[in-house]
């Protein structure tokens, strides 16, 4: 299948436009993907520095870095808020969906580009604008100290009178519009632009993940946009959707926010599921076990994800039957996620496993996801939530299951595809060191937080009673190790581009069966102009 493509691309190889046209007016899915990855990396540095500042403050009881006055404490809340917003909206989503999605969905389904290349460009620049708006928000009028959940009345004009929250809302509006346009682009591309014979049930699981993610975005983000608009008009134009004094209800915001917020965590983790499936299959030299089950497990997670939102709100004062329903519905999610975990294990079972760096990250992902997943079972129980709600147990849970797991998925994807993206392979030893530092770092960082949570330490506090000191100290050491691991990643990045060994079309050998490995490395500017014919081929599992 590779021959026709390879024969063709040669003509186009050197027809790159000039720098400005190429990077600012780009309509090429690979270039836009690269841009997204760069923005995600820049945002990750900023979001990461925020989290290390938080951990440095929390290393010891008392206030070390921030001043003990309202300004200092507001700054801490802004850090907490900014870290959440940046990591969710400007690191994981751009990297996974904008970056890897743009790069590899067209390659994997045998399409020459995305369905709407110019809209793709708009999506990217909206995201960049959103990021700038968020940074502006952080630096004016004391910044938004509301947490990423932006609960009114704290986020209302009475308690955040400055412009900071307005800029934050605008930032999310713009980033949301970017994601909605991107999602439309992905769905149309996947529905209409598959190569002949690439049926829906032959698509690689990463493409499946992107398809389901795109649908989640389309259904969830408009609800956030609606809620944010209500908040904006409440703040500025005298409406009272969330103002109890004028007939509104602050709890309504929580419903709207979490109706978006819960699917959002699947938007973050489903692409990682897709990447991990590709990697486990490649390095086990086996097709994915239970391909259809894997695809439909993701679909099931997406569907169930829309009817469990109120488990984030167990303590707002709910009717007991409501809480019983959400407890039961939430636990149901454990079944399709279990199917995924066991299918990955079954894929490895009987395989011929090569522990390359992407595979190490994939295994680490499975480990972290399982640990974070089981604590999720505890938190699903409304009764247990009477003890755990808003403690560090929750912090540990969602960093394991969603935050760090997604980051590991991103690293896995980067190491897996960097050969295809840059034409050069990562430096082996340095990359392995980077993996171990990062993996050990995040576990030292987040595992003790389970105990802090058990002991009752609340979230989002800059200072804590002295009894919580030991675990917080360990946590901060973990943050330091993680920081070194992250720094090392940028060294790896530099060494790869500066001195990585050149690789051919398929550096991974017989396990790598998906279409992106049939084109040259680095992938030429134009690929799949003659659509590859997949008719009669085995499913691209």
């Amino acid at each position: 299948m590779a021959n026709s493509v390879e024969a063709h691309h040669g003509e186009h190889e050197h027809h790159y436009p000039g720098f400005f046209t190429r990077w600012f007016c780009s309509t090429n899915h690979k270039d836009i993907g690269t841009l997204y990855l760069w923005v995600a990396m820049i945002a990750a540095i900023i979001g990461g520095v925020m989290s290390w500042y938080i951990r440095a403050e929390l290393a010891e009881p008392g206030l070390q870095l921030i001043s003990n006055d309202p300004e200092g404490r507001q700054f801490y809340n802004v850090l907490v808020t900014g870290h959440g917003f940046i990591m969710v909206f400007f690191v994981v989503m751009p990297a996974m969906i904008g970056g890897f999605g743009n790069w590899f969905v067209p390659l994997m389904i045998g399409a020459p580009d995305m369905a709407f290349p110019r809209m793709n460009n708009i999506s990217f620049w909206l995201l960049a604008a959103g990021f700038i708006l968020l940074l502006i928000a952080a630096f004016i009028d004391g910044g938004p100290g509301t947490g990423w959940t932006v609960y009114p009345p704290l986020s209302s004009a009475d308690f955040h009178p400055g412009r900071a929250v307005d800029f934050g809302i605008l930032s999310l509006h713009v980033a949301g519009a970017s994601s909605i346009l991107g999602a439309i682009n992905f769905i149309v591309t996947i529905f209409n632009m598959r190569a002949p014979g690439m049926t829906i049930h032959r698509m690689p699981l990463f493409v499946w993940a992107m398809l389901i993610t795109a649908f989640l975005l389309l259904l969830a983000l408009p609800v956030l946009a609606g809620g944010l608009t209500m908040l904006l008009t409440d703040r500025n134009f005298g409406t009272s959707f969330f103002d109890p004094g004028q007939g509104g209800d602050p709890v309504l915001w929580q419903h709207l926010f979490w109706f978006f917020g819960h699917p959002e965590v699947y938007i973050i983790i489903l692409p990682a599921f897709g990447i991990i499936s590709q990697i486990v299959s490649t390095f086990s030299k086996k097709p994915v076990f239970g391909y259809l089950g894997m695809a439909y497990a993701m679909a099931a997670i997406g569907v169930v994800g829309f009817v469990v939102w109120a488990h984030h709100m167990y303590t707002v004062g709910f009717d007991v039957n409501t809480r019983a329903y959400f407890t039961a519905a939430t636990m149901v999610i454990a079944v399709p996620t279990g199917v995924k975990i066991f299918s990955w294990l079954a894929t490895m079972w009987g395989g011929s496993i090569r522990m390359e760096v992407p595979m190490m990250y994939a295994v680490a992902f499975i480990f972290l996801f399982v640990v974070g997943g089981v604590t999720g079972i505890t938190l699903a129980n409304s009764s247990a939530d009477l003890v755990f709600h808003d403690t560090y147990y929750v912090v540990a849970h969602f960093h394991y299951v969603m935050g760090i797991a997604a980051i590991l998925g991103m690293f896995a994807g980067w190491y897996y595809w960097i050969g295809k993206m840059s034409g050069r392979q990562y430096p082996e030893t340095l990359s392995r060191l980077q993996f171990w530092l990062f993996f050990i770092g995040v576990n030292v960082l987040f595992f003790p937080q389970h105990f802090s949570g058990f002991a009752g330490m609340p979230r989002r506090i800059p200072d804590y009673p002295d009894a919580y000191a030991p675990y917080n100290y360990i946590s901060s050491i973990g943050a330091l190790i993680t920081a070194v691991g992250t720094l090392l990643f940028f060294v790896v990045l530099w060494r790869t581009y500066a001195a990585g060994t050149r690789v051919g079309a398929n550096p991974w050998g017989e396990g790598a069966t998906t279409l992106e490995w049939s084109v040259d490395s680095p992938a030429p500017w134009h690929t799949h102009e003659d659509l590859p014919d997949m008719a009669g081929k085995a499913p691209a599992e």
Partner: protein, 282 residues
């Protein structure tokens, strides 16, 4: 050992003689360094949740160990060197049914006791008194509607004003006094933003939402000091909004009410006349 006990007891007794019964070595419910489990459960709800958490944790540890063992086995047994030719198996219906059905059974086994506990914690059983808790930025107001509308604010004590023995970030000027072994109805409200009144050892955690009142209940197992912190981000001093419950025996609580009515008399009814007076002067 025995000798030390005698010394300890006599110290306590001397203490009792010296400063009266209030300062007897009291039970203190708050977190301890290196604590690896929940705070000691001190209410019927907390006991049930504690037991549930034991069950949950064992199941979860079992799952993690099982998956980790499989993962490790795969990596070692099926590594390239030892298993150069991979199998082509991609389906096994029996296995797939099993790993769907068994988790369902486990979840049902969790859900049944969990929901029982949930319904138990929800029902306020024949409350003998009511405490109203109003959240403010950044202190709590406690009101006892059944005790002549006794009302006072509970402000945190800054670090530099702490007396010896008072834990940092947990101590307040006016703790909320409650009788032990009494079913108490809790009404939670807020005067500004959303707060959350939470005491881990009693398994009480409920939002104080402006514009509405939430209800829950608590029964404190024995006299002592119970500490908690605000558990919903409420602004810049969110971390500095401690809750300190002093649970007394029922008799001592009655005595305290008499005393407190005098102490806080200015807070309830008369404070309205005070305010009116101020207005008129202005």
């Amino acid at each position: 050992m025995f000798k030390r006990l005698i010394i300890k007891t006599s110290v306590v007794w001397l203490g009792l003689l010296a400063v009266g019964p209030v300062l007897a070595e009291e039970y203190v419910a708050r977190s301890k360094p290196w604590q690896m489990w929940l705070q000691e459960p001190m209410s019927p709800s907390a006991e049930k949740i504690n037991d549930l958490n034991v069950l949950l944790l064992w199941i979860e540890v079992g799952i993690v160990v099982f998956v980790l063992a499989l993962l490790a086995y795969c990596i070692i047994r099926f590594r390239e060197k030892r298993n150069p030719t991979p199998t082509k198996t991609t389906h096994n219906t029996a296995l797939e049914v099993a790993w769907t059905a068994i988790p369902v059974l486990i979840l049902v086994a969790i859900a049944v006791p969990s929901l029982k506990v949930l319904y138990y914690t929800d029902q306020t059983p024949n409350a003998e008194m009511t405490l109203k808790v109003a959240g403010n930025q950044w202190y709590w107001t406690y009101i006892y509607p059944d005790h002549g509308d006794l009302e006072f604010d509970s402000n945190p004590i800054p670090d530099d004003e702490l007396k010896p023995g008072q834990p940092r970030l947990l101590s307040v000027d006016n703790p909320v006094y409650l009788p032990a072994n009494t079913n108490i109805r809790l009404l939670l409200s807020s005067n500004d933003v959303i707060h959350n009144w939470a005491i881990p050892s009693l398994a009480v955690k409920l939002d104080n939402t402006p514009g509405r009142v939430n209800e829950t209940w608590v029964r404190i197992n024995k006299p002592g000091s119970y500490y908690g912190m605000c558990s919903e981000l409420c602004g810049v001093y969110h971390s500095f909004m401690p809750i300190h419950i002093k649970a007394l025996s029922r008799e001592n609580f009655k005595k305290w009410v008499v005393k407190a009515k005098l102490e806080f008399a200015a807070n309830s009814r008369s404070d309205e006349t005070l305010r009116v007076a101020q207005v008129e002067i202005r």
